[in-house]
Symmetry: C2
Subunit: 338 residues, 2 copies
């Protein structure tokens, strides 16, 4: 579980993100330079916090999508690099605000920014990065890309508010939960992919296919994360196992377990997730219930289904090294948990 | 102090915002409609919070600046209305985040949104409104207006982070404080005014003059607010007297009083503003010290100076009913405190 493939692994035996990483190496170096320079400010707390987050080594999957989805059309400018950096800034801003909203202590295996600098700075530096993201998009000059990313920005926040309502409510349905993650996670993956063909001046059909790929991958990615939160090891995930449980988050594994459980089980979930009444041993019991009702394996199955959807969308894009690498990314994403 | 002028007051005897309100009535009705429709969402918490803030009756000075600064050039489209609504959304988003950052209890005489719905919802609904603001700007289609407002968005956040550093530090200098308010308040006034000539397709000289007017008015406005916080009555200001004091905010009156005070005074300010050590009677003593060192009257004088700067900038714009009304707005703003 959670084994990260290395470059030497053969593609067949171990799905890997490496082909994608290799394809966009040059562009990602530029993205990283832009990120470091645009996270600068003579207000010193801003680069300090931004660099903490940015150097803490997320996979940078979203900006890689933007680069790959422009490169596959032979795009020659540098607008895709700036858009990719904007996408990562939007994501980083979301993380900063999320940690405040979720009262998280850890992020990618490090103390969350809010624990180091406080909630106030996390809110404001998130706002700053979002402002910088929009400035960078304006520099690119594509109103269509701006529209797609501005829409994503509003939709992400909407999804987070929706999740706030769903949190601590074990009656959340699968459909409601999917609506949350489509907005809060998948919408940015979709936008990140879509702006590739947009900046390359491609047809609506290409934009739609790239968007669909990003959306389905984003859904798969989030569901794998949800499953890992109850099953991965802390080191693999960069956060503690059971974070979602402790924060009262209702994720798909819980939705399944609640729906399939007994009245007694429901009382347990209610106490743990709705009333902050978690006691020693509760997480272990939760994991036991999730196993008993196939809640984790069915969540992973859903992730596989979305992964298949992503692969189908890829078929409509120009076939080659980029679509191959993006297909590997889907397999890699799902392999984290299975 | 804080007397609000009514329509029947003559212009000479009592400065009034009413001429400006009258000039942009039609546009502001459209702005209000856009605001109400774009604050909508099928995530019900969003319109609930947005409407609470929007209906709580701020003066809507910023969107009025946008309308007036486009109308004065005979602009005929409706882009200015959409931009004005975006400006108000940006402002509202800032208020939501500010209340969280400042841990404020009141906003415009009502309970702050964070007291009613929590910090989490305030952060996220602010993010949503910001996303909507950018979507609306994209709809207008002016990359130049987008650049100006995106820049303002980043600068406002930068100013807030700067203020966070200055908060609880009584060694803050006048220059440092002015830098904070230029960023956190005046930058949006400046952008709101500048996008008027931008959308009307006017020359750089006109854009520069409108921007300068907004900037100077914004500085005057903030300094008057700072003075009122120690001198206005609670009902006039929509917040309690002494809010800044209780929140440990260093504003210009305090900067003056600290610089001019004795060692004993400095010990007092240090205890109150740096260490959360406020006791009964401290606010009264603070107000006494501010009076003793002319800290309020000198702050108001600075506001008057910026007001004069705003009037000077107006002279470069096409003279007529709009520049007259904008001049009245400057006088009105300063009359709130003197």
């Amino acid at each position: 579980m959670g084994v990260v493939a290395t470059q030497s692994d053969s593609k067949k035996s171990q799905p890997s993100i490496q082909p994608l990483v290799n394809l966009v190496t040059g562009g990602m170096e530029q993205v990283n330079q832009i990120i470091l320079s645009k996270a600068g400010s003579n207000v010193e707390l801003i680069p300090e916090i931004a660099k903490h987050l940015i150097s803490s080594g997320g996979k940078r999957l979203r900006p890689m999508l933007t680069l790959a989805c422009a490169d596959m059309f032979g795009y020659q400018g540098d607008g895709h690099v700036t858009l990719a950096a904007s996408v990562e800034f939007m994501h980083t801003a979301t993380l900063l605000h999320d940690d405040v909203v979720d009262e998280s202590d850890m992020r990618r295996g490090k103390l969350a920014a809010r624990k180091l600098w406080g909630n106030q700075a996390s809110v404001l530096v998130g706002d700053y990065l979002l402002g910088q993201a929009f400035k960078m998009m304006v520099d690119v000059g594509s109103l269509e890309a701006l529209r797609i990313l501005a829409e994503a920005s509003a939709v992400i926040a909407e999804g987070e508010v929706l999740q706030l309502g769903a949190a601590k409510n074990i009656a959340t349905s699968e459909a409601e939960y999917l609506r949350v993650i489509e907005a809060k996670t998948a919408a940015l993956f979709a936008a990140a992919a879509e702006v590739g063909p947009v900046i390359a001046g491609e047809s609506d059909a290409m934009k739609k296919a790239a968007r669909a790929y990003g959306m389905e991958l984003g859904l798969a990615f989030q569901l794998v994360d949800d499953a890992l939160d109850y099953g991965g090891s802390s080191a693999d995930l960069g956060k503690q196992v059971g974070d979602d449980f402790r924060e009262g988050k209702i994720t798909l594994p819980v939705v399944f377990a609640v729906a399939r459980g007994t009245d007694e089980d429901r009382t347990f979930w209610k106490r743990c997730l709705e009333t902050d009444g978690i006691q020693d041993g509760d997480l272990e019991h939760a994991i036991e219930l999730l196993g008993k009702y196939d809640a984790i394996s069915d969540t992973v199955q859903r992730a596989r289904d979305y992964g298949s959807g992503a692969l189908k969308a890829l078929e409509k894009l120009p076939q080659g090294a980029h679509t191959d690498a993006l297909a590997d990314a889907v397999a890699f994403c799902i392999s984290r948990v299975s």
